[in-house]
Symmetry: C2
Subunit: 210 residues, 2 copies
Amino acid sequence: MEKEISTAVIRRLPRYYRYLGSLMDNGITRISSRDLSRRMGLTASQIRQDLNNFGAFGQQGYGYNVEKLYYEIRKILGLDKTYNMIIIGAGNIGQALLNYINYQRRGYNFVGVFDKNPKLIGLNIRGTVIRDIDTLENFLDNTKVDIAVLTLPGNDAEEVIKIIIDKGVRGIWNFSHMTIKTPPGVVMENVHLTDSLMTLSYKLKEESKE
Amino acid sequence: MEKEISTAVIRRLPRYYRYLGSLMDNGITRISSRDLSRRMGLTASQIRQDLNNFGAFGQQGYGYNVEKLYYEIRKILGLDKTYNMIIIGAGNIGQALLNYINYQRRGYNFVGVFDKNPKLIGLNIRGTVIRDIDTLENFLDNTKVDIAVLTLPGNDAEEVIKIIIDKGVRGIWNFSHMTIKTPPGVVMENVHLTDSLMTLSYKLKEESKE
DNA sequence: TAGATTGTTAATCGATTAACAATC
DNA sequence: TAGATTGTTAATCGATTAACAATC
């Protein structure tokens, strides 16, 4: 039985990964936890604690080999795998996600985009045709999908979530306001943009008080 | 001197706000911390602790008045104010946010969109014309801007951040990979979409192990 | 070897949960 | 009034930081 890693740790992993990537870009081949902690604004202790949840990647007296650590974290994050992905909801955010991030390079393959709006169905977005949401179940019967991106209104999301879970989709990247307790075997990552904006507005208000 | 509220608490406030909003939509006028905790998957203790950071909004033996609490949290989050907002980087995400937030109709007013791409400059996005980024400084001299949304590549962001802070923008909603330690009086809220996706991929990998 | 820095255990700090007196 | 539920203090739990022996 493995020990459960806390989400706080997991959410720092992508940051480590990004920093290590930029170190590599700058030709830096080794780094100590102390040095990395200064750059990232963390403590060296925390970095060593975090990494040692997954293994002993460093070397006493030397520090960490940047490239080695980079690829270790890559593996920990599951970025060495490829994922079939669909987008449900082809509105602004859905289309932006389809276009903006170069998923392909990182192992994310878009295999379908769905919407219920007849004006959108059939449109071609950068080589991907928007399908009728009514064909979703049938599509899932024939295509293995690892991750579904939910970029549709919260009230529509509830029904869709049922369908995709039923059809075996195990990862949900949720941009809608709908949140559910996922059944065992299904994982969900929520991105609540309005929550984030509200947090900013709170911080702004606090700052201006001082 | 006020006591500092932890970010963990602050990040729950928008969730409370959303839940209370939906309770109001359903005509529910009062709620106990126990009842709310069940719906939200938290403990009643936590809800009471969280709220009591800001005041005593409930009543013994009764619970909380939904509408009152809703408006209290609204005020705590600074949502009773209006904010002038600009978007810097009119790519997919920038355009999506322009449409998305406008649609939300809270107190966020878009007053400008900027880009450096000549193909985008001059284009009209839902009534807002994309301006040349070179005119940004001048624009900020003449218009009060509370929040700048950064939806441009990380390498371009560094220079832009300097300019907007210098010109008195105090809130930054950052979608770029660039992260900085903000000077006093300036607040920044980061949305790292790729980090979020990496977290999902980690969770997926973990789930499939079991 | 001597110096540097890890991996890891112990101490501290902060956040969550439990308990209960106050009171509507 | 009696029952319900808050506000708040105390206890617990977990995460971060400090310390240091191991070792490259």
